[in-house]
């Protein structure tokens, strides 16, 4: 297909339609690369690790997230649609009462927030949450 302006518009509205029903186009290779680097390509399973974030963020500048990672020694958080995907890495010390933490993050666009936890036995768990980031109007 020739990439005329009209075709571009058709493409972008298709992408918009896709995102509005919760299906994201494939992307995020940079985040995938960084995750592979972290895990050494090890298999990741679903476990008790969870990440929660709002389904729709009113402003991408300040998006609250909570991670819960029982049994993890380390949790790394990535945002697969940000120009630099790494968000934060949490290491829990001996006096952590739980392996839960909350913070506020920046998301450049609608995307997945991914948590990768390294467990005490060296295995990895993965959890993710999709956050729709609204473009905003004038805020009032």
């Amino acid at each position: 297909m020739e990439l005329t302006r009209r075709n571009m518009m058709v493409l972008s509205s298709a992408a918009l339609a896709a995102s509005s029903i919760g299906v994201l186009p494939a992307m995020a290779s940079l985040a995938d690369e960084q995750i592979a680097e972290l895990t050494g390509g090890a298999e990741m399973v679903e476990g008790e690790l969870s990440i929660s974030a709002p389904e729709i963020a009113e402003n991408g500048n300040t998006v609250p997230i909570d991670i819960s990672a029982p049994g993890a020694v380390m949790v790394a958080v990535f945002a697969d649609g940000n120009p630099t995907p790494a968000v934060a890495t949490f290491k829990f010390g001996p006096l952590a009462a739980s392996h839960d933490a909350s913070t506020r993050i920046r998301l450049a666009a609608t995307q997945n927030v991914i948590a990768i936890a390294q467990m005490q036995d060296g295995t990895f768990q993965r959890a993710s949450a999709e956050v729709k980031v609204t473009i905003g109007g004038c805020g009032g």
Binding site: S20, P54, A57, N61, T134, G139, G140
Partner: protein, 285 residues
């Protein structure tokens, strides 16, 4: 009875926006209690002078649960960083007279109730004054200090501090007597269409609140929560900065913060919130 005029902003997005509107068209039913202590009135019968609105709502009721939560605890609310900063300034002498705010007013708790009745007629000056004008009057005449920039950080922080001790009290600005002509002027401005988009305050905040402007949930444009910490610019925003932003968004030349036009508009808009709690410093998107 209010009338809703739907605004067709971008027909291509109609499907997406209809979906969003169906999800949350009106203010939600959440209750605002700050620090598990201060119970806020976020919904009240509209003041008699409002002809086209039956119920008034705080902007808090139009925000998402996540944004709402940030205002419910003073530690979570980043605005309190600047309230703390202003509390130090309150105690610090400035100017030729060697006075601080505390020299005359003692504890900032003595300001309880003040935010709720401003803007207010000042008999000696023969004008309606905002809190900012009164603060600068103190600085110049009681302290011998330089006035602060009307919507600068020092001023907005101080207004946030003064506002914080009135939280929970109902807004109750006087619109009659000597304040009436200023109030009328403000009302005229509220209904005047500005800019290339030819929008008045009323077009968005009276005719269309509850609808979405792009993906933003339009509130009634109440100012009981100012100064407000916005997630968008991560700082405290003054009422007049917000007015300026709104008029700019209509693609008009805007009035200056502190101008007689904005003072009048502030009195009028504040009076549309008579009965809602003072929330400042609030948190908005």
């Amino acid at each position: 009875m209010r009338t809703k005029t739907s605004m067709r902003l971008g027909v291509g997005l109609a499907a997406a926006s209809v979906f969003a509107m169906a999800a949350c068209a009106d203010p939600d039913d959440d209750q605002l209690v700050v620090n598990e202590e201060i119970e806020m009135i976020t919904e009240a019968a509209a003041p008699d002078h409002m002809e086209r609105v039956r119920t008034i709502y705080s902007g808090w009721r139009f925000r998402s649960d996540e944004t709402q939560a940030v205002q419910m605890d003073d530690f979570d609310n980043p605005a309190m960083i600047w309230v703390d900063a202003a509390a130090e300034v309150w105690e610090t002498a400035d100017g030729t007279e060697g006075n601080s705010c505390a020299s005359c007013h003692e504890s900032v708790d003595s300001m309880e109730g003040v935010r709720a009745v401003y803007p207010k007629w000042n008999e000696a000056a023969g004008e309606v004054r905002t809190l900012e004008m009164q603060v600068n009057d103190c600085r110049e005449n009681q302290m011998g200090a330089e006035p602060w920039k009307y919507d600068g950080g020092d001023m907005t922080n101080m207004v946030a501090l003064i506002s914080s001790v009135s939280r929970g009290l109902p807004v109750n600005v006087a619109i009659d007597g000597p304040a009436q002509s200023t109030w009328e002027q403000g009302k005229d401005l509220y209904y005047t269409r500005f800019g290339q988009l030819e929008l008045s305050c009323a077009n968005c905040h009276e005719d269309s609140y509850g609808l979405h402007i792009r993906s933003d949930h339009l509130s009634q444009g109440q100012i009981n929560g100012f100064p407000t910490y916005r997630l968008k610019n991560t700082k405290l925003n003054s009422v007049h900065s917000r007015f300026k932003g709104c008029i700019r968004d209509t693609r008009a030349h805007t009035f200056a913060p502190g101008s007689p036009e904005f003072v009048a508009l502030e009195l009028y808009v504040a009076s549309r919130g008579n009965g809602l709690s003072v929330e400042g410093p609030s948190v908005r998107n």
